[in-house]
Amino acid sequence: MFWKNMNNYTKKTLNQFLKPKNRGKIKNPDGVGMVGNPVCGDLMKVYIKVGKNKKGEKNIKDIGFETLGCVAAVASSSITTELAKNKTLEQASKITKDEIVESLGGLPREKVHCSVLANQALKKAIEDYRSKSPASASASAKSSARSASAESASATGRKRRRSQAGKAF
């Protein structure tokens, strides 16, 4: 690309940046995902509240984000929350970075990593919810008294894994 500077955001990206949707923390979230690092300049945190749709499938009832970052980071976060809201956890886990970029009408090449981060933050929030809630490891898991106790037995192990994973980002 001949022009390597950043003054070529799409209108959609700028609109998402100027009027971000689902901005801010949500109270008592069921899952939280934080990604990025201050060295590269982008930090994102996604909060989800899980509910059930009419079919009884678990879905993202509410979602919020906090982002310290550039125009593309804020816009990617905002559009990701819009894409995920009211989707089932299954559907939301399948959102790709390309979908995010497309929804913004494209991103400068150097900024594509922002869409990756937003996607990762969402996935982490869903993972976080799943790791905390006993019966939700998979959609087919039917919670019985037995499996619930098995879940709680392994919960500490999972917690430790999560804190290790936290250190890696």
Partner: protein, 387 residues
């Protein structure tokens, strides 16, 4: 919407008087100064008059002024041309870590090619290169010291005259005066420099024109071949309108006390009224048109874009605004953490900036910073607690 331009360190508008001086050289007096005929002669006369004006401005002789396409070319020429002309097997160059990329990348290039060794001096936390550090860095094989006069990002004023005295006549001394010409004395004899670079478009002149002062007798080779222009030192057809415009712009440079007051008003209001803000670089040793702030918990590109929405043109040292995705090398060199460099905002005033503009801008900065902090919440603090 009224637009306000606070990015004069990036470029300036062409002064109408400069434009007027240039215009005849596009369509009427369009000759090539190297031609023998009358068209050539009138163009040549314009170039030599411009050279004479430039020599007056820098207090040197006309044979010491070489027109180039701008400071980037001038700086490249000095670094590469001095190394090329050097007799030493492996010469050594001293420069600073806060130079413009054109100096740094030219130095890194010759280092990579094994043509010279380079020392990059660190500034102190105020952004000043000490004379002492230059003295310490000098080696037996040092052939060139290149230190900028005024830094383009944080506006800090470097002790050029003192370094000139230290080096005397023994080692070639270059200064990139691009950001200094408008506001500081550029008498090359007073400064004690052998080379001085500058650009037209930073002083209300046109883009694509600049010059290099080369003190008579300095050992430097040409780096651009292909013609006998500029005493066979810089090939390429003269940019006649540009050269005329550059000379006119130099003519119009004058002391402006007002700009310092306005800049100080801007700094004091921002530091007082925007929470968690600070000034980057020394306040005293600083170009009168430069303010560079860091605001915690915000990212600079986002701030620039929010201000742009309000018609305010500014700039940032944030990684996100550059293709490298690395924060400003200048802000890093004065000790800012990456997240602090990311949250930087540079405002550079010009001769048309008013107090009313500044007051408007401060209000908009306050709003924009508050908005971005709402979006970012406490993520940085939470991240730091985790790590």
């Amino acid at each position: 919407m009224k637009r306000m331009y606070l990015d004069h360190a990036a470029t300036t508008p062409v002064d109408k008087r400069v434009l007027r001086a240039m215009l005849p050289y596009f369509t009427n007096k369009y000759g090539n100064p190297m031609s023998l005929h009358s068209f050539g002669r009138e163009a040549r006369k314009a170039v030599e008059e411009a050279r004479s004006k430039a020599a007056g401005f820098f207090n040197c002789s006309v044979e010491e002024i070489f027109f180039t396409s701008g400071a980037t070319e001038s700086n490249n020429w000095v670094i590469k041309g001095v190394v090329k002309a050097s007799q030493s097997r492996k010469p050594h160059i001293v420069t600073s870590a806060i130079e413009h990329h054109c100096v740094l990348e030219a130095c890194q290039g010759i280092e990579k090619d094994g043509l010279a060794e380079v020392t990059y001096l660190k500034p102190d936390s105020r952004g000043i290169i000490s004379v002492e550090s230059v003295k310490k860095a000098i080696r037996k094989n040092t052939i060139l010291v290149s230190i900028m006069y005024v830094n383009n990002e944080i506006g800090t004023l470097e002790p050029i005259e003192e370094i000139g005295k230290l080096l005397e006549e023994k080692i070639l001394f270059h200064t990139d005066a691009t950001q200094a010409v408008n506001y500081f004395n550029c008498d090359v004899k007073k400064l004690g420099v052998d080379f001085l670079s500058m650009s037209g478009h930073k002083i209300y002149g046109p883009k694509g024109i600049g010059l290099l002062y080369i003190k008579k007798g300095s050992l430097i080779s040409r780096v651009q071949e292909g013609g006998s222009q500029e005493g066979e030192m810089r090939a390429g057809t003269h940019n006649v309108p540009g050269i005329v415009g550059l000379a006119k712009a130099l003519d119009l440079v004058k002391k402006d006390k007002n700009i310092l007051q306005l800049r100080n008003h801007l700094i004091s209001r921002v530091l007082k009224e925007v929470p968690l803000s600070r000034l980057n670089g020394s306040l005293d040793k600083r170009s009168p048109n430069n303010a560079n702030f860091t605001f915690n918990n915000i990212e600079g590109e986002s701030l620039v874009m929010l201000l742009d929405k309000e018609g305010i043109a500014s700039s940032t040292g944030s990684a996100c605004s550059s293709r490298s995705l690395e924060p400003s090398h200048v802000l890093s060199a004065i000790g800012l953490k990456p997240e602090e460099a990311h949250g930087s905002l540079r405002l550079t005033l010009g001769k048309d900036t008013t107090k009313k503009d500044i007051d408007f801008i401060v209000e908009k900065i306050k709003k924009a910073v508050a908005k971005l902090r709402e979006i970012s919440g406490n993520v940085l603090e939470e991240y730091e607690q985790l790590h």
